[in-house]
Point group: none
Chain length 231, copies 2
DNA sequence: TGAAGTCCTAACGCCTTCTTAACACCCTTC
DNA sequence: GAAGGGTGTTAAGAAGGCGTTAGGACTTCA
């Protein structure tokens, strides 16, 4: 799974259908690949590993079900069948050899796009990667809500953690006192700049190697604080 | 996830439709549950954790999309919408709030069954994952619903077990009080944080070596709980 | 009808976390 | 060199969250 826009492969022999879908998909922000025959479709699937495949069953060179079977020998890429044949036996056959959805022509663009989103959603679980923030000896797993310093877990209280992650979100930039108070204390009246000094001291004590000479949690006098990132 | 036949929950208000589908599903070997209203549907989903949900959008007591939304707050159980409304906006709406498929009435039984098989296939990756969860002296067989501590079987009540497996599903990361209450008690009004304290204490007594100093079932004060995994 | 098991609820004491205050320190400015 | 604003540090009280226990209500099964 790439970090850029999802890629859709269309396997379809009718040129006008290709043109129509290409416009629809590209204008929706997807990267687009197309193949007019089954063989080419398989080749492109191998080569580019698209995120979704749209497959017309009525191909000239090979049976759509055979293509499905050959694809499923090595890949679980979601396949949405688009076909002129609306017979129930066709649908059941395609779904049972591994297709993930079946749309009968004619169909609406928005429905197709919605079903593509469903297919992408299904593939997602494999793409669940932890957003890791690494800086020096620090290692912050935002999904786990876990902070490691030199491999050692460090416990932060809710406020400490929120203050820290707020600085991480603006890493490298100065965050003003006012903004920190708003984002951490939620704009509650009574939140004072004193709080920041206290909690910054606690964070430094827990995270910095030499709390009296902070390397990363830096003060910008009169303005706010900044999480310094290495260059 | 049980090792026996997959269980299907049908949420549908028309009695004749229920009767029809019940026959179709049971004769295909599925275990069968039904609910005539949305509220009952949610309750049964919480209680029995079916493998697939068939949802009629035209329910008398609540909007089908609301039901979808509430379900998706705590569960990824695949949902196949069956609806008399064939408008594209209906389909897109349902699919985008988390439905996995959309069938327009009238539909054929064999197509429905094929789409159920697709839905079950999608859920599989989660079940293909080692049904054995091992951590320290613990050994949890999610299929058998069996918990061993140092080789000795330990009996957990249904709620204890559900709380425990919820933490296992999110192993390593903090699960908030709210999320635990939702996933274990099903978002039923009245579920209080107090429940969590009581049941966490019971789990620790049954599972931890030194319940007063839990090694794995850890508290994140002010946030939630976390099943600590070794690195 | 009793017994066992489970779930909910209340009460109490402990512990973490938050808040607040007091004071020391640095730097700039006069 | 003194004054003053901004900042760092520490500690202690207050508030709230948490763990624990026990008892009652409810269901299930014999």
């Amino acid at each position: 799974m790439t970090s850029s826009a999802p890629q859709v492969l269309l396997v379809e022999d009718e040129p006008q259908m290709r043109r129509f879908l290409r416009v629809a998909l590209e204008s929706s922000g997807y990267r687009y690949l197309e193949a007019p025959t089954g063989e080419e479709g398989l080749t492109l699937a191998v080569q580019f590993r698209p995120d979704v495949i749209l497959l017309d069953l009525g191909l000239p060179d090979m049976d759509g079900l055979d293509l499905m079977t050959r694809l499923r020998e090595w890949s679980q890429i979601p396949v949405i069948v688009i076909s002129a044949r609306g017979q129930e036996t066709d649908k059941v056959g395609a779904l049972d050899v591994g297709a993930d959805d079946y749309l009968t022509k004619p169909f609406g663009t928005s429905e197709l796009l919605a079903r593509i989103r469903v297919a992408l959603r299904h593939a997602e679980p494999g793409a669940v990667e932890n957003p890791l923030f690494v800086l020096g000896r620090w290692r912050v797993d935002l999904a786990k809500r876990q902070v490691l310093v030199a491999g050692q877990e460090v416990h932060l209280t809710p406020l400490e953690y929120r203050l820290f992650t707020t600085l991480i979100h603006h890493a490298g930039r100065v965050v003003t006192h006012r903004q920190l108070l708003k984002e951490v204390w939620g704009g509650v009246a009574g939140a004072q700049p004193l709080y920041l000094r206290v909690y910054m001291a606690q964070l430094r004590h827990k995270l910095e190697e030499d709390p009296s000479r902070p390397r990363y949690l830096q003060t910008e006098p009169g303005v706010g604080y900044r999480l310094r990132t290495e260059d």
